[in-house]
Symmetry: C2
DNA sequence: GTCTCTGGTCAACGAGGTTGACGACACGAG
DNA sequence: CTCGTGTCGTCAACCTCGTTGACCAGAGAC
């Protein structure tokens, strides 16, 4: 039994998430995007860089409500990173499409994420890094088997 | 290189945190405390159950600002789980002390946390569970060495 | 006695979501 | 063709969990 007073696992996960998120934001700031926030990842990790992606699809991929995703899209639209264009195939729908500046943003953002993850992978070691991702997938309800040990 | 479009590590951590937090809250609800929220853990994992703990100490232990902890204490005081009593040793200070109901709450809350962590430990396996905690400590800036996997 | 530091507090704000309701359009069944 | 049902985006209201800045009262060193 762990000593009472230690942080619970949930909080540890939250703190780790914030640390990595802040690192990504810092990386993005260095790369010339000082207004990036951790939450933007929910969009920029999932949007199609050429043609854009529908709001609903973005929400589903990021596993959040479409209303939540809308706030994000509103925000990024105000900042000039995306715009909403009508979907030619479905007149109810709109496609969230990157602007030229948005394409640069997403490219740098994905590089910043990759850099942070590469650092984690390097410092944790390949095995621990993969084990971490597997455990996380499992805890979030992932269906895959965990291999023995 | 991972496929573009996969969640980044930060988000995975966040989601895992929310899943576990929700489980703790659900466990607490079953145990007769339907108004528990994940954030309450920041207090109930760190408060001294007999004598109480100063706000500043709670904030430090939970690694958050004292203003943030104050909101939490206000909330739990409104719910009747804690009260602020003057500190006999320092007339500037107050001790956040559990009420009788608060003591029951904290006891059940720590059991609920322990149950969730025990489940994680069981399902992940001892090795993966320990590796997860170690990796998390490391990522959050923990100083300890990681043994060579 | 003054000086500085610390404990608690008030106020304002920000990020990152949630649920509910709803109008507009799509689309298959009849 | 039109009618029912489901989907897309949206508005509104709300919630959780914090943050920074300013400040006062009391503690403790000198």
């Amino acid at each position: 039994m762990r000593t009472v007073g230690e942080p619970d696992l949930s909080r540890l996960l939250l703190e780790a998430s914030r640390v990595l998120g802040a690192e990504v934001v810092a990386g993005l700031e260095e790369r010339g995007f000082p207004d990036a926030r951790p939450g933007h990842a929910a969009l920029f990790m999932h949007i199609d860089r050429r043609w854009g992606t529908r709001l609903t699809d973005l929400a589903r991929r990021a596993r959040m409500s479409k209303q939540g995703m809308m706030l994000l899209v509103d925000d990024l639209e105000n900042r000039g990173y995306v715009r909403r264009v009508p979907d030619a195939e479905d007149s109810r729908a709109k496609v969230v499409r990157l602007t030229a500046r948005g394409r640069r943003f997403v490219a740098e953002a994905r590089r910043a994420v990759a850099a942070v993850e590469a650092r984690a992978r390097r410092e944790l070691g390949e095995r621990r890094y993969e084990a971490l991702r597997d455990s996380l997938d499992y805890l979030t309800g992932g269906v895959e088997e965990l291999d023995g040990s």
